[in-house]
Amino acid sequence: MQPNQTVLLAVLALPFLGAAVTPLVYRALGERTAYFAAAIAGGCLLLIASQASTHGSVTLPWIPSLGVSLSLYVDGLALLIGFLASGVGVLIFTYSGGYMHDEPGQMKYYATLQAFMGSMLGVAFAADLVALFLFWELTSVASFLLIGHYRSEESSKYAARKSMLITVAGGLFMLIGFLVLHGVAADAIGTATFRLVGSENSMLAHADEIQEALRSAGLLVPVLLLIGIGAAAKSAQVPLHIWLPNAMEAPTPVSAFLHSATMVKAGVYLVGRFRPLLLTDEWMILFATLGLVTMTVTAMLAIAASDIKELLAYSTASHLGLIVAGYGLSNVYGAETGAFHIVNHALFKAALFLVAGIVAHEAGTRAIDELGGLRHDLPVTAAVTVVAALGMAGVPPFNGFYSKELLFEATYEVALHDGGVWWLLPVVAVFGSVFTFLYSIRFLMLFFGEKPHELGEVHSPPAIMLAPPVVLGVLAGVVGLGGVTSTFGVHLTPLTDFVTRVVESSVAHGGGHEIHFGYHLPTKLKPAVVMSAITIGVGLVAYPFFDHLRDGVRTLRSVPLLSPNFYYDTGTEALDETEFVTTHLQTGLLRTYATALVLAVSAMTLGAYAAAGANLPAFTGVGLALPLVLVLLVAIVGAFAVTGAPSHVAGVLTLSILGFMVAIFYILASAPDLALTQLVVETLVLVLFLLVLDKLPAFYGEPSRLRSARDGLVSVVVGATVFTTVLLSTKATPNDVIAEFLAKRAGVPSEHGTYLLDWGGGGNIVNVILVDFRAFDTMGEISVVAMAALSVVTILAMRERGEVQ
């Protein structure tokens, strides 16, 4: 069944509309805006659910001349991300209602968060590469604002900048990859298209031809790398993971949202989406390696964490690594790993972040070493944590176990099939999983053991903060239980059918075999079971030595050359401290900018004359009536007097001489209207100047000789340019002057008697032009004056109010 165009557009429009009206809503509802936003997210969720049974695309023309359309595509993967973004969104907004109580900047917070959700929905449903890129970068911008929510905190600003730099830069690499694909598609399909999926001429429908064309042009690896960098930057893959731990500066609901359902999921979504298009051996080498290295390295870093949100942040990177690795592996288990783990990770990670928020809120600290024994004070939270953390650890029968089994199975199959160096895959997968197990248990232990004495009283969280993690915990538990029941033949059909659809999105078309996703507890001894057993066994043995391991990782981490943060910081500081920029280019002085501007314009103008071979006309005589010459002479004298004026008042008076001389010039040049206007304006300006000067100090700053000489030189260059320009432009006059055209039409034809009809109908041609032929210009002019007047009033009023504050 085809999706409904209106509904899909509504899904995308709703969050942005919600964001747009949030300022008004906030004025009316105050902190209860949280529930308005939750309702928006709920609306999106329902709308998406109404399309759950559909499959296909809808298209709106956008930039037809470039072949860009706003196409939306609905399939398993799109629905999954859509459900996550809106569903988790409902819970996040609800939770925010409690968490953000009395926090600053709530209006901005809710507006941005809704836009964040909307852009993620856009990423999920976009079927066109340009639209996908647009929404992709919108998520970066929104997360920048959200991570930097506490604007006065230096660490917030640092984190926001870091995430922006890394994810947007990654997005630009991805854009280049898209453009290369666009170019290659022209050869492979016959039409240059940006359409990724969902039509006859889309790239995915011609995956084989595109792969072939890429390979023969030698572009396959570059494209994989470019798109890989984009996905890695967004999904925090090593070594671009460094922004994610800093992103915990954001309010906790944002972290939960960003880590589970939006932002970082965009990267893995991209990998899953491109998998059928680009699945080759090179793909497997790149993404399986990237994923497994990330999974292991960040799991180790999670152990070294000292803050519960930091632990969770590294763990997110690690689990995203698992998903990327799954999508990287070429067999069907790989795709199943990716799809199923997206679901599982979203459930347990969102729950755990919300738990971390509750702990931080109620216990007043996020330091791992200061927390313990919280189960007495937070029993419900503890129960949620048991389900979620054991799921994260991959302990049966909790949800993470099944997707991790799939990863083990996928790596084992690849190793068995290809042999050789590929045996490293299952080994690394187990190695990384041990660390995952360790930090998951460490997190769980916050709730068990002794409660440290320093930890004060821990309150119960309000119900609206508790409900969302409970919902997520229950869902995670149900997924886990589904595995148990299906061992006995009772399958959790809605879930497995849905995951099957998600898997289908990431499997190359025409593969032949149908996909039937299912999961259950292992009933016989398979290699994957052995690998899980090893993971848990080693984990249990190693847990007592957790502190030693942690110290070991911390020592490794502190070696600067091993830390990507070191390179990031050095790099940005080097750019930041480029003194040349601050001392020579961006000085903040008008003088610098003006000099650069006028010199550049002069150089370009003179250069253009030279290039066009313009010849200066020979001197043919003054050619100007004596009165005009005299008036201009006085004007020049006035201008020199202004420049050398010893005081402000003297300067203003001599400036007036110049102005009145210009007025006389207009009279002599047969321009009475100009003369009148100039006289009025000149008088007004004189009065204004004198009024303002009365309030200003008499400043006689003598410029240094060197600076005067330098500025004089610049002025001479400008003067010479103007001189040349005037000479060249007055040398020739077109034959067919526009004055004739206007003169014929402006006057009132005699046969009309006294009526003003037909064209302009007025004796004064200038006036006719102003009020008739070019009336809109005049309206613009009046608006400018009105704006200037408004600005003057505002600035003066602001001053008076500003001083009170």
Partner: protein, 112 residues
């Protein structure tokens, strides 16, 4: 016809205006902008040709050779807008002095 005198005059006016814009006293910068915009207006009128009669035609009658009314209309708009910007610039100058206690641009940028 080629306007040598005006070329010279406009060159000088632009040069003086530029020199003033490069000063650090805000009031002088405003003067500089004012001179440059005056000179630009004169240049536009010059471009229309200085010969010819006033561009006003008699009722129902014909007309002789008039000066270019279009540039005059443009310049008229420019004069009025120039007034608006000058007024605005002056108030900004005043505000700068209120906020920074100085109208020396070098000092203003050092203080911020």
């Amino acid at each position: 016809m080629t306007q040598f005198v005006l070329a010279l005059v406009l060159g000088i006016l632009f040069a003086l205006g530029t020199y003033l814009v490069l000063r650090s006293d805000v009031v002088r910068v405003v003067w500089g902008v004012s001179i440059i915009s005056q000179a630009a207006n004169v240049y536009l009128v010059t471009m229309g040709g200085l010969s010819g009669s006033v561009p006003i035609v008699a009722h129902g009658g014909g007309h002789g050779h008039v000066t270019d009314p279009l540039v005059q209309a443009l310049v008229l708009t420019a004069i009025v807008i120039g007034f608006g910007t000058t007024a605005f610039a002056l108030v900004l100058t005043y505000r700068t002095y209120e906020a920074h206690g100085t109208i020396d641009l070098t000092e203003v940028s050092e203080n911020t």
